[in-house]
Amino acid sequence: MISVPVSVQLLLPSVLFLIGLLGVLIRRNVIFMLMAMEIMLNAAGLVFIIGSSLWKQADGQVMVIFILAMAAAEVAVGLALILQVFQMHKTVDVDQLQELKDERERG
């Protein structure tokens, strides 16, 4: 197995997580935001894997399987929502989607 220091191993998921966070912050297209969320979930799974391999416990890998199932369900519902929103408003820009906002404050 590899002999990389633990801090360096944990650096990879933290960088991936921060890139995903940056993606959620800077993008206005909903699909890209969902993609960035997937990146963040994946980074969290990577931390679980590192922990499970360091402690030689299978529990971390079980957690990653649950994360995978959750991500699959979330993507299915999220993409269906995006399709519906696109049919209603003809846009995927999050700034345009303000149906729930009060009429007076809409700018």
Binding site: L16, L18, L22, I39, V75, V77
Partner: protein
């Protein structure tokens, strides 16, 4: 093995950056798939062969294919790329990038100046699929059942949300629909 870890880490970070900053949605998705494959290699090197296979099959396979389908259904061609170009200006991402870099600096400090004190001896060890399966179907059996129900709810929810509104193909039915909608509008106006 170490060199494989570093190589795939570099590939994963580069491709994720490209995926986040790319203007073309399909290209960004392809970069994301490459990044997920690189992460799968990292899983394998870290001693999780089962999860590496699942990452390739479920993440890079199933979930990303779903994304590709939706992107193709929404695709508006050149106009979308121009719009993304207009949205992704330096002034848009400069401040978020600064804050994220700040967070990264804090993270670096935590990782290297106060490293995790409880790291066990022996380093990384591989865990075979047998152990994962054993844990999954004994201690985490309830979790498996709940994940199954979550997936079921996800499928049903996606079906109902994604369902198109029923169209009426007969004139008479259309008129009836219009009457009903105007009546309901009146009702809501009265309520207001």
């Amino acid at each position: 093995m170490n060199i494989i870890f570093y190589l795939s880490a570099v590939v994963a970070i580069y491709c994720t950056l490209r995926a986040v900053f790319h203007k073309h949605a399909v290209h960004a998705l392809l970069y994301l798939i490459v990044s997920l494959l690189a992460v799968a290699v990292v899983f394998f090197v870290l001693g999780a062969p089962f999860l590496a296979a699942l990452e390739v099959i479920i993440y890079a396979g199933a979930i990303m294919v779903l994304f590709v389908f939706v992107v193709m259904m929404l695709n508006r061609g050149e106009a979308a790329i121009q719009q993304e170009k207009a949205w992704l200006q330096f002034s848009t991402w400069a401040w978020p990038a600064v804050f994220v870099l700040l967070l990264f600096a804090e993270w670096l400090y935590l990782l290297f100046y106060q490293p995790p004190a409880v790291a066990p001896v022996g380093g990384n060890q591989s865990i075979m699929p047998q152990q994962v399966g054993e844990a999954l179907f004994t201690r985490y059996l309830l979790g498996v059942e709940m994940a199954a129900m979550l997936l079921m709810a996800g499928v049903i929810g996606a079906y109902h949300i994604g369902k198109q509104k029923q169209r009426n193909y007969h004139r008479y039915l259309e008129e009836e629909e219009n009457l009903r909608s105007t009546a309901s509008e009146k009702q809501t106006q009265q309520v207001i």
